[in-house]
C-alpha cells in the first residue's frame, strides 16, 4: 500500500477552521495544559526538593517512613489519577466530538466558524 498523506477529497484547512473541530482542539488542549501543568509542577517540585533539600526530604515521619518516600509515591498516584482522568474524558467527551467532525467531513457538511 503506497503512502499517500494527502487524500484529495478532504479540505483540511476548512476542517481545521470548522467550529466543531476548533471546539474539540480547544477542549483537548485545555485539559492537557491543566493536567500537564499540574504534573510538571508536582514532579518538578519533587525533583528540586530531592536535589537541593536533602534535610527536609530525609525527615522521618514514622519509623521507616521519610518525606521523600511519601512524595515519591505521590508521583505514581498523581500519574495514575491524571492518566485515568484523561482516558475517561477522551472516551466521554473527545471521542464523540471527533466522530461528529469526521461525520461532517464525510457528508460534506463541515461548517465554517461563524
Amino acid at each position: 500500500m503506497p503512502f499517500s498523506p494527502t487524500p484529495p477529497v478532504v479540505d483540511y484547512r476548512a476542517v481545521a477552521h470548522s467550529a466543531g473541530f476548533q471546539n474539540l482542539v480547544a477542549r483537548r488542549r485545555g485539559f492537557v495544559a491543566l493536567a500537564l501543568g499540574l504534573a510538571v509542577a508536582w514532579f518538578g517540585g519533587f525533583l528540586l526538593l530531592t536535589s537541593y533539600a536533602h534535610g527536609f526530604m530525609q525527615t522521618v515521619i514514622a519509623p521507616g517512613l521519610t518525606v521523600a518516600y511519601v512524595l515519591g509515591l505521590s508521583q505514581f498516584v498523581l500519574v495514575w489519577c491524571l492518566a485515568a482522568a484523561y482516558l475517561r474524558t477522551s472516551r466521554r467527551v473527545f471521542d464523540p466530538m471527533q466522530v461528529a467532525v469526521a461525520a461532517a467531513v464525510s457528508t460534506g457538511t463541515t461548517e465554517a466558524r461563524a
Binding site: 500500500m1 503506497p2 503512502f3 498523506p5 494527502t6 487524500p7 478532504v10 483540511y12 484547512r13 476542517v15 481545521a16 473541530f21 474539540l24 482542539v25 483537548r28 492537557v32 493536567a35 500537564l36 504534573a39 514532579f43 519533587f46 525533583l47 528540586l48 530531592t50 536535589s51 537541593y52 536533602h54 526530604m57 530525609q58 525527615t59 522521618v60 514514622a62 519509623p63 521507616g64 517512613l65 521519610t66 518525606v67 521523600a68 518516600y69 515519591g72 509515591l73 508521583q75 505514581f76 500519574v79 495514575w80 491524571l82 492518566a83 485515568a84 484523561y86 482516558l87 477522551s90 471521542d95 471527533q98 467532525v101 469526521a102 467531513v105
Partner: protein, 519 residues
C-alpha cells in the same frame, strides 16, 4: 554450568523461538513487518510498552541503585513514570494518526520530506545504537555472572537471538516476546515483593526501618543524597529520564501497531498502571535486598546489578538449597528474557529508520514501496544494524559504562527528537529549516556535552570542562532554541503552513490515518 540455571535459560530461548516461528508465518508485508499489521490490541500493546520500560536497566539497575545508595535510585523510576503522561497526552494518539512506521513519518509529515527524514533517521540510529550497545554489554555481564560463560560468547548468543526474532518475526514476534516477558517479570517481581513483605509481617515500614538500620547512612539512606553529592546531577538525571523516555524511538513505534488512536491511548493506560506497579515493587525489592542480604554483600552484587538475583536466592532458602537455586535461576532467566525482548524492539526501530526512512524515502524516493523489496530491505537493515551493534559491543568490551550509554541515548532522544516532535504538532510557523537545525543542533549539543562531561573527558570530574553527566539541562533548551532560530531566520512558506492544517486535522481527529489491515 549450574543445571537449574541452564534449564531456565534454555526454556526462555525455546519459548521465544517458538513465538518467532509462529510470527514469521504471519509476517510477509511491510506493514506486518514494522507494525504487526496494526492488529495488536490496546491491552497487548500496553503490556509490550510496559515490557520495553521494564528493562534490565530498570529491574536490575534501579533495585541495585536502591540497594547501594537508597532513595536516589528510585528518583529515576518516578521520572520514568512521569514521562508516560507526556507520552499519553502529547504523543500516543498523534503518532498513530499521523505516522506509518517511524518517528520520522510524523516529523517529515508537513515538512520537506527528504532532509528532515534523513536527520530524524540519523538521531533514531544514534539513540538506538547507544541503547543497543548498552543492553548488549549488560547482557554479556549478566550472562557471564550468572552462568560462567565468558563475555564475548554471551554477547553473541544474545545478539543472535535478537536477530532471529526481528529478521524472521518482525514486529509481531518482537511484540509477543515482549508481552510474554512482561508477564513473567511482573509475576517474578510480585513473588519477590510478597516473599520480602512476608518476612516483615506485611509491614512495609518495618522493612524500610530494617533496611536503614543495615546501611551505614542510617535513616538518611531512606532519603535523597546517598549517591550524588552534586544536586545538579540529580536534577539533570531526573530530567533526562522524564523527557528522554517519552522520545525513545522503540517505544513510540509501538503506537503504529494498534488499529486506531483509541487503542493507542488505552495501551498507555495499561502501560502506566503496570509500570507504576512494577516501579513501586522495585523500591520494595531494592530496600528488601538491603534489609535481608547479609552485611558485606556489596562486592557480590557486582555494582548492585545482581542485588535482585542474590535476594531471590536468599528468599528461596539461600545458596546451595533447592529453593534458592530455583528462585535465582528463575529471576536470572527472566532478566535475560528482558534484555532479549528490549534489544529486539530497539533493533526493529533501527531497521525502520534505515529501510523506511533512508532507503525508500531519501535514497530511492521514486522506487515505490514494492512489497517484496520492502520487507527484504527491512530484514537486511535489521541484520546490518544488529551485526554492527554486536561487533561494537565486543570491540568496546565489558569495561563500558552501561549507565553512561543509556544516559547518552536518553539525552539525545530528549534533545533532538523531543523539541521537533512537540513543535511540529503545535506550532504553525515551524518549518523545514527549523526542524533540521533543531534536530541536528540538539543531537550535536547532547553528544558534544557528554564528550566534555565527567564520564568521558580524561581526568574525570575535576578536569571535565562540563560538570554534568547528563547534559539535558542545557541541550534540551538548546534544541528548542535551534528549532526556533532555524524557523524565524527563514522566510514563511505557504506549503509548510498548509500542511500544518492537514497534520492538525489528521492527528487530532484521526481523519486520513493509516487503516488497519485485515488478516
Amino acid at each position: 554450568m549450574n543445571g537449574t540455571r541452564l534449564f531456565f535459560f534454555a526454556a526462555i530461548l525455546i519459548v521465544t523461538l517458538a513465538i518467532t516461528i509462529w510470527a514469521s508465518r504471519r509476517t510477509t508485508t511491510t506493514s506486518e513487518f514494522f507494525a504487526a499489521g496494526r492488529s495488536v490490541t490496546g491491552r497487548q500493546n500496553g503490556l509490550a510498552i510496559a515490557g520495553d520500560l521494564m528493562s534490565a536497566a530498570t529491574f536490575l539497575g534501579f533495585t541495585g541503585l536502591i540497594y547501594l545508595s537508597g532513595f536516589d535510585g528510585w528518583v529515576l523510576a518516578t521520572a520514568a513514570i512521569f514521562s508516560f503522561l507526556l507520552i499519553l497526552m502529547l504523543f500516543a494518539e498523534r503518532m498513530r494518526n499521523a505516522g506509518q512506521y517511524t518517528i520520522a513519518d510524523v516529523l517529515s509529515f508537513r515538512l520537506s520530506r527528504r532532509p528532515v527524514r534523513a536527520a530524524a533517521a540519523t538521531t533514531t540510529l544514534v539513540v538506538v545504537i547507544f541503547y543497543l550497545v548498552a543492553q548488549l554489554v549488560g547482557a554479556g555481564l549478566l550472562v557471564r555472572a550468572l552462568t560462567g560463560m565468558s563475555f564475548v560468547p554471551a554477547v553473541i548468543l544474545t545478539g543472535v537471538a535478537m536477530l532471529g526474532y526481528v529478521v524472521f518475526g518482525g514486529m509481531l514476534a518482537t511484540t509477543w516476546v515482549q508481552i510474554v516477558k512482561a508477564v513473567m517479570l511482573l509475576m517474578v517481581g510480585a513473588a519477590m515483593t510478597v516473599a520480602i513483605l512476608w518476612q516483615f509481617h506485611f509491614n512495609v515500614l518495618d522493612l524500610f526501618d530494617s533496611a536503614a538500620a543495615n546501611h551505614p547512612l542510617g535513616d538518611k539512606y531512606l532519603g535523597p543524597g546517598g549517591s550524588n553529592p552534586n544536586p545538579l546531577n540529580t536534577l539533570s538525571a531526573g530530567v533526562a529520564y522524564a523527557i528522554g523516555t517519552a522520545a525513545l524511538p522503540h517505544i513510540l513505534i509501538r503506537f503504529f501497531t494498534v488499529p486506531d488512536a483509541q487503542a493507542a491511548r488505552r495501551s498507555v493506560g495499561w502501560a502506566v498502571g503496570l509500570i507504576g506497579a512494577f516501579f513501586v515493587m522495585t523500591s520494595i525489592i531494592g530496600y528488601g535486598a538491603r534489609a535481608l542480604l547479609p552485611a558485606g554483600s556489596e562486592e557480590a552484587t557486582a555494582g548492585g546489578n545482581l542485588a535482585a538475583p542474590l535476594l531471590a536466592q536468599h528468599l528461596g532458602g539461600g545458596e546451595g538449597t533447592f529453593g534458592g537455586d530455583v528462585f535465582i535461576a528463575l529471576v536470572s532467566a527472566v532478566a535475560f528474557a528482558t534484555i532479549l525482548a528490549v534489544v529486539a524492539g530497539l533493533l526493529l526501530s533501527a531497521s525502520g529508520a534505515i529501510s523506511h526512512d533512508l532507503w525508500f524515502n531519501v535514497f530511492r524516493p521514486n522506487a515505490g514501496a514494492a512489497e517484496r523489496e520492502g520487507t527484504a530491505v527491512a530484514r537486511i537493515s535489521a541484520l546490518a544494524v544488529g551485526v554492527v551493534a554486536i561487533l561494537l559491543t565486543i570491540l568496546l568490551g565489558d569495561s563500558l559504562n552501561v549507565a553512561l550509554l543509556v544516559g547518552l541515548a536518553l539525552s539525545v532522544a530528549a534533545s533532538a527528537n523531543f523539541p521537533a516532535l512537540v513543535l511540529c504538532m503545535g506550532w504553525r510557523r515551524f518549518n523545514t529549516p527549523g526542524a533540521l537545525v533543531g534536530i541536528l543542533g540538539g543531537l550535536a549539543a547532547a553528544v558534544v556535552l557528554i564528550m566534555l562531561g565527567p564520564q568521558v573527558w580524561p581526568g574525570g570530574e575535576s578536569a571535565a570542562p562540563f560538570p554534568l553527566t547528563f547534559p539535558v539541562l542545557v541541550s534540551i533548551p538548546f534544541g528548542f532554541f535551534c528549532c526556533w532560530l532555524g524557523t524565524v531566520l527563514t522566510p514563511r512558506r505557504v506549503e509548510d503552513e498548509s500542511t500544518y492544517y492537514e497534520l492538525l486535522v489528521r492527528s487530532q481527529a484521526g481523519i486520513g490515518a493509516e487503516e488497519p489491515t485485515s488478516h
